[in-house]
Symmetry: C2
Subunit: 221 residues, 2 copies
């Protein structure tokens, strides 16, 4: 059986969970307190990060490379288009969310409000929270601009770029940090992606000490 060592609200783990679920690859989820740096875990991934996927006896780390491997081994249903230029656009947006959005938004809101408490690293830094709350607006507007031109973020088919974005936004939605009223097309996009069977496991997540708001799992939010 495949195993994913993860934490529920990690956007990197969520992207892998969505890819696996979309391709109907079964996986057992194992919560990994990566901040405790358990030696057993460090052997699994010397980078000391989640996600780590155990698949066919191999330990795999780094979410985007894992998703590319899953795609190469299980091409159906595809999460990448065929044309090199279209594949580039998917990868660019995955990097956009996992690098830029992560640094400017996720790490300033989710990590301040939730991870710091869970890992006992003190209180949220209000300067960071303010910056994150400001930056997410710019990112939602960028998404809205893309969705004015395309049905999905990277083009006219759903791809890993949508999962990368939804992974970050769903984790932030768990702490009510996404203003879905800001643009209708972003809300419509999220409604479409949220109603996919692949999303169900994410919507059932519960983090102790942080109960999700009612709208989090509501398909009609």
């Amino acid at each position: 059986m495949n195993r994913l060592f993860h934490v529920p609200l990690s956007p990197f783990c969520r992207k892998v969970r969505l890819s696996l679920a979309e391709k109907k690859i079964e996986v057992e989820l194992v919560e990994e307190k990566y901040w405790e740096q358990d030696p057993e875990f460090m052997r699994r991934n010397p980078a000391g990060k989640v996600p780590v996927l155990k698949m066919k006896g191999r330990m795999l780390a780094e979410s985007a490379p894992i998703c590319e491997l899953i795609e190469e081994l299980h091409p159906d249903p595809p999460l990448f288009p065929r044309k090199p230029e279209d594949r580039y656009e998917v990868r660019r947006l995955v990097s956009w969310f996992d690098d830029k959005f992560h640094n400017e938004v996720t790490s300033k809101l989710l990590y301040e409000r939730v991870n710091k408490k869970i890992t006992k690293q003190g209180y949220p830094d209000s300067k960071n929270v303010k910056e994150g709350a400001k930056a997410i607006k710019y990112h939602l507007d960028y998404m809205s601009w893309l969705l004015d031109q395309r049905r999905w973020l990277a083009g006219n088919v759903m791809t890993l770029a949508d999962f990368a974005a939804a992974a970050h936004l769903s984790s932030l939605d768990y702490i009510s940090d996404v203003d879905w009223d800001r643009s209708e097309n972003v809300r419509d996009w999220y409604a479409k992606i949220k109603s996919r069977p692949a999303f169900r496991s994410l919507l059932a997540d519960q983090v102790s000490g942080f109960p999700p708001p009612a709208h989090y799992a509501d398909l009609d939010f």
Copy 2:
């Protein structure tokens, strides 16, 4: 003509320069002071980061997606192996260097010592510099451990993983922050990669105010 908007010591730009040069794709280098956030530049890449590659009239951003596109359009000579599992390992290591090594080492040494001065953001933070100097040892040891088992970082052929690593190390070597005496196999690996024609342009770089040490461009360092 292709154009690469870059800064000389950016490891992300260097990885793209190495890929282009290895595949003998000509490119005009244009220095881009990204920190000035020139509106023209922000139009080219709304993420406001270098590298940005203008290729066939398209503006491309994000170094790893750019390198994947170059590979798909110009597969010879290959910088990725054929087998999905081997390709995964290349991508994992590219992420290792561009995420973990970048955060733990490059940003703490190069950005503190060079970028802060160039972008007029004050003086190096000695705590960061100390942490970076400590962390690079661990990373060199990890590379050495890999190279005990393989001829190149991701396997027995040279790949983008070697370019990603060499991009970071060469930028740090420009400011004498790499201890090449630490492990013989890492030094031998760097000597091999440094002597490739693709590396020449990097070795000719000059950053004003920061003359490179004599060993930087020396193939017999």
